[in-house]
């Protein structure tokens, strides 16, 4: 064999308990101390996977001061030094070559002064350079196994043999037993002597002594001498630990080293069963003494490669396991995944998770909607409300507690805190905002706040995927409807009476199309569906004036909001999982639904336009409202005017009577001479609808 011997590099692995313990010690004991600390590492002798390398493991026991604390009988123990820098900058600025040279000096010293002969674990010293970001649970670390770069070249005298080829069966067994009985630290390096029929295991000092006395006396007290080392590597090359053993032999018995064939046992496998025997001989050097003397003048090498096969630190982010809020996440997702796995394999949970929901109104509907969104795993919820939690709210508005009412917290904030309490990892926001309303006059003093409100609302809608209209008055829904139409966002509207509810999705608006849709289509598409205001023949106005308190508050049966909120969210989810999305055809009649009609039937079934129900007779109707070309909220003239004039337009709707009716063309229609006929025709069509539903 012509090639000189090369060595397989080592690998180390840290257990999460190593970092958990380190964090604890860093906070309680080391504090800002950057001095090196002594640690232990071990090669486990339990591995089942003996074809691959056995990593040096660092875990919580690595920091033990007393070795006897734990049972180490099934491991090979190595000692190491660790330096943890306090700052990332300090970590970055450390020169790895200088670091290993200075920190690894101990290996060379232990060889030169001979202490490694009695304490062989000093040869397997390892170094850890680390930086720990304790807040983010992020750890940077790099492990080195220092050894001199320079080494007399060694050549294979013969091919590596397995121990079964080299030794008699009895000796193989002796070796195994002998190895396992060694102290876990002396398992690193030892000497095996064969004399006659007897195999004995002695320490390195005895081995070196045997060689040196032999060369002096020229008589052999043994037949064969082997130097053994625990080898965690699994390649055909000897492992890294042999390098320091070679240095030790070169230093302490140079004559032997440079002239004889030396046999090494590379102990592999948990019971030495995979061990190899290497017979090596040094290159012939003209002046071997000089080689020996210059051995330790070279630099040290031995940094591990990280798993990307680069020389550099390993970076681990353990927040997933150490951060308690992230732990709950996996359990929440599991429940949803079960739905996917068991029932609806194509369910797109990612889409739901990433959905950005804006909840306008954080009252009884807003709370219930948020709860159900949480159930679906929605991760982005923003609450908008301008009122505070009062004592009458807590029993109906499911996100609030008595404490919220005592503190008179803003609902938007209290709701945000509540969902964070339920699922800490959620991305929740609360915004206090008064939505400008038609007919609610804006005086000079309110001009500024109205402007700010509009800007904020525009921004919120712009940044959302879905807007829920869950406000307590009709006119408060007007501006959000305009914004959703102008910005083409999905709008889901829910409104309550005493014992009746309406839940609907707004149609999409392509604002350049002013022509009336075909009213005859059986299941109109999203673009032909109306909004909350498309049925109206008057513009929304101030409904709060001339009303007593009980009329101003929504007084509804307590179960009603849960029903309506449930329908609103499920309507949204069905729509999201429909191949046509918001453009899905609206379901009206429940008979003759063909599952193959993919324009109508999506992954989770059909998507109606409007669901109306009543608790009085427990009836549910599906109705549709077509897009109305003179709608006071979503018609082309309104959207165009909003886009042109923005705030001025909004102020006019608030302050100028009948402004919207004029603008939308509604006034025009109401003045038509044939209005009666028109109404008659409309009445009849709606009667037909009613009849249809009764069938």
């Amino acid at each position: 064999m012509s090639k000189f011997v090369k060595f397989s590099k080592l690998r180390s692995t840290t257990d999460s308990t190593f970092w958990a313990k380190f964090v604890e010690l860093k906070i309680d004991k080391f504090k800002l101390d950057e001095k090196s600390i002594s640690i232990w590492g071990s090669y486990g002798l339990q591995s089942l996977n003996e074809d691959n390398s056995n990593p040096l493991t660092l875990d919580f026991t690595s920091f033990n001061e007393d070795l006897e604390t734990v049972d180490n009988s099934l491991s090979v123990l190595c000692c190491g030094r660790m330096i943890n820098t306090n700052t990332f900058e300090a970590f970055r600025q450390i020169n790895p070559e200088k670091f290993i040279d200075s920190m690894g000096k101990d290996v060379i010293n232990s060889i030169q002064d001979g202490t490694a002969l009695q304490s062989p674990w000093k040869l397997s010293l390892f170094l850890v350079l680390a930086y720990s970001d304790l807040k983010k649970y992020k750890f940077y670390y790099w492990v080195a196994h220092p050894t001199p770069l320079k080494l007399p070249e060694m050549y294979y005298e013969e091919s590596p043999k397995s121990i079964n080829e080299e030794f008699a069966a009895k000796h193989v067994e002796d070796l195994c037993q002998g190895f396992l009985q060694l102290d876990s630290r002396t398992k690193n390096y030892f000497t095996v002597l064969l004399s006659g029929d007897k195999m004995t295991i002695v320490d390195l000092a005895a081995g070196v002594k045997a060689i040196n006395t032999n060369s002096e006396k020229q008589s052999q007290s043994y037949n064969e001498i082997y130097f053994a080392f625990y080898d965690p590597c699994a390649t055909s090359n000897p492992g890294w630990p042999l390098r320091n053993l070679l240095c030790l032999l070169c230093w302490h018995c140079p004559t032997y080293y440079f002239s004889k064939v030396i046999k090494f046992i590379s102990i592999r496998g948990n019971k030495t069963q995979k061990s190899l025997v290497f017979a090596l001989k040094s290159k012939q050097y003209e002046n071997y003494k000089c080689e020996r003397d210059s051995l330790f003048l070279s630099n040290l090498v031995g940094w591990e490669s990280n798993l990307n096969d680069k020389l550099g630190p390993t970076i681990v982010n353990l927040s997933d396991m150490m951060d308690p809020t992230k732990l709950s996440d996996r359990a929440v997702n599991l429940n949803l995944k079960l739905m996917k796995w068991r029932l609806v394999p194509d369910l797109d949970l990612e889409k739901i998770y990433n959905l950005k929901c804006l909840l306008l109104g954080a009252g009884t509907l807003g709370c219930a909607v948020a709860r159900i969104l949480l159930g679906w795993g929605v991760n982005n919820i923003t609450f908008v409300d301008n009122s505070n939690v009062s004592h009458s709210n807590t029993v109906r508005q499911s996100l609030y507690s008595h404490q919220d009412a005592v503190k008179h917290k803003h609902k938007a904030y209290a709701a945000k805190d509540a969902v964070l309490n339920i699922r800490p990892s959620i991305n929740a926001e609360g915004v206090i905002l008064h939505i400008p309303m038609p007919g609610h006059v804006v005086g000079e003093s309110m001009l500024d706040s109205t402007k700010k409100s509009l800007e904020k609302l525009e921004e919120l809608v712009e940044n959302s995927d879905v807007v829920f209209l869950l406000l307590d008055s009709r006119e408060a829904r007007w501006l959000p409807t305009v914004l959703c139409a102008a910005k083409n966002k999905i709008a889901i509207n829910a409104a309550l009476g005493f014992d009746s509810y309406t839940v609907q999705r707004h149609g999409t608006r392509n604002f350049t199309n002013p022509i009336s849709p075909d009213l005859e289509t059986r299941n109109p598409r999203g673009m032909d569906l109306g909004c909350y205001f498309c049925n109206d023949v008057t513009q929304p106005g101030n409904s709060q004036t001339d009303r007593t308190l009980d009329q101003q508050c929504t007084v509804s049966r307590p179960g009603l909001s849960q029903i309506a909120a449930g329908l609103a969210v499920e309507l949204l989810i069905t729509l999201l999982q429909h191949p046509l999305g918001i453009e899905a055809e609206a379901l009206v009649r429940r008979d003759n639904i063909s599952p193959s009609d993919t324009d109508l039937v999506g992954l989770l079934g059909c998507v109606p336009h409007t669901i109306r129900g009543s608790l009085w007779n427990y009836d549910t109707h599906l109705t549709i409202t077509h897009r109305f070309t003179s709608c006071t909220a979503c018609s082309v003239p309104i959207i165009a005017e909003y886009k042109n004039r923005g705030l001025r337009f909004v102020l006019d709707t608030c302050n100028v009577p009948n402004y919207l009716e004029k603008l939308s063309g509604l006034e025009q229609i109401l003045k038509r001479p044939d209005l009666d006929e028109l109404c008659y025709a409309l009445d009849n069509t709606s009667d037909d609808d009613e009849d249809d539903k009764k069938i």
Partner: protein
């Protein structure tokens, strides 16, 4: 549940104790955890970390740059060339955890397991789909192998659905240790769990 193809809690526990005794002898890391006095509350478990070389059809075929992090690029040192360094095959860490529980409702053992393609249990988990494709022939469906909350630990685990276990247990009805016989049949489907051949002695 009782009847053909089921085992009682007492039998499970007895089998489990034999199993763990054997594991201690051969030191392959299985241990009995939980409360043995309460039916269903104790289980056999093992956590293992190993290095896997990428080879066809294995877990680490697609080497996800582990715990991928942008800042890793900042650290790519070029150090002194070391003539004595052998080139090594790239190996990836894999942490696996297997738990054998007893299901009261089915009266059979049930296998819960998790795998992580990293140094740490909890980081970079093996997804259910990956686990399914790892099983021989990749024929496992959601109803065979899915995810469930570990009944004792309360955290998500992959598991093999116990509904077919009755048949398996009936096939090995002569075994002296039904737990071992059953486990050795289902193990390949659970991230290629391997049982040492020494366990065979327990069944005869």
């Amino acid at each position: 549940m009782d009847g053909p193809g089921t085992i009682t809690w007492d039998e499970f526990l007895e089998n489990a104790e034999r199993f763990v005794e054997m594991s201690c002898q051969i030191s392959d890391g299985w241990e009995l955890r939980g409360d043995k006095k309460v039916p269903g509350e104790a289980y056999v478990a093992r956590k293992q970390k190993q290095y896997i070389r990428s080879s066809g059809n294995s877990i680490n075929d697609r080497p996800t740059p582990r715990y991928s992090d942008d800042s890793a690029d900042d650290f790519d040192f070029v150090l002194k060339q070391d003539p004595f360094e052998a080139s090594c095959p790239i190996e990836w860490p894999l942490v696996t955890e297997h738990h054998v529980l007893w299901s009261m409702s089915y009266g059979v053992p049930i296998l819960y397991f998790n795998g992580w393609k990293s140094d740490f249990a909890g980081i970079n988990p093996i997804s259910m789909e990956e686990a399914q494709s790892l099983a021989r022939n990749g024929e496992l469906k959601y109803k065979d192998l899915s995810q469930a909350i570990h009944p004792i630990l309360g955290t998500p685990f992959l598991h093999l659905h116990p509904c077919m276990s009755h048949e398996l247990l009936q096939m090995t009805s002569n075994s002296k240790n039904k737990l071992v016989s059953w486990l050795s049949t289902v193990a390949p489907a659970a991230l290629n769990l391997k049982l040492r051949c020494e366990y065979c002695q327990l069944t005869i």
